[in-house]
Assembly symmetry: C2
Homo-oligomer: 133 residues x 2
């Protein structure tokens, strides 16, 4: 694959760039995690999303233990190259808590409120580790 586009991505001092995953058809923002150069290349090559786990310091093939992979539909770079937007087709759920997306806490009047339910109990998800996004 031609990887000349990599010079459009501004990796930070740790060699990472934040990547937002959005469900391609519903618009739901699923999660945010980080990618390094290798994660970007693997994601584009395999058409399945691979992040960089900061806590485990290794490539994190999303869904490798749970089966809840993210199929890549489109890969976008923002205007200054320092954020990625991945349009994906999420199999199962995106969040390690078993919710469909990670943004289930809403602040209302200064208080945190849980706004979505667990779809799949985490113990059924084969021990997939917490993202460190």
């Amino acid at each position: 694959m031609d990887s000349a586009f990599l010079d459009k991505i501004s990796f930070d001092s740790n060699g990472l760039v934040p990547a937002i995953a959005q469900q391609h058809d519903t618009g739901e923002v699923l999660m945010m995690a980080w990618m390094n150069r290798d994660a970007v290349l693997e994601t584009l090559e395999k058409k399945e999303v691979c992040y960089w786990s900061r806590s485990r310091a290794k490539l994190w093939r999303k869904g490798e233990s749970s089966g809840h992979v993210q199929k890549l539909i489109d890969f976008r770079i923002d205007c200054d190259g320092d954020t990625l937007l991945l349009l994906v087709d999420q199999v199962g759920v995106a969040c390690h808590t078993g919710r469909h997306n990670c943004f289930f806490t809403s602040i209302k009047g200064g208080k945190a409120e849980i706004i979505s339910d667990i779809e799949i109990p985490p113990e059924e998800m084969y021990g997939e580790k917490t993202p460190d996004a």
Copy 2:
């Protein structure tokens, strides 16, 4: 305002947290930028989004020069507290290039392709500075 919820946010070693802005009704992901504690509090208090500009090292009241403010509809925190999702109502356009959102570059077959048009020429946008997201 009760600010006890702040302990649910994991600010990084620079005191910052990434914040994704999404148009509340269409689901369009508009941009990603950074917030510090003061930006979070001001955003919730004024119901208009305020980021922290890393390049200018000061609060960045989105739209303060262009008028293209982001009205806050909902404020969400992810499962591990290190990313925010802001549901907003965007006035005008979000991107300093004059496009509606910042993610207008798509990678197709290893090549970068521009997929959306400029809606408002930047010179009409009263010199709002480039976000450093």
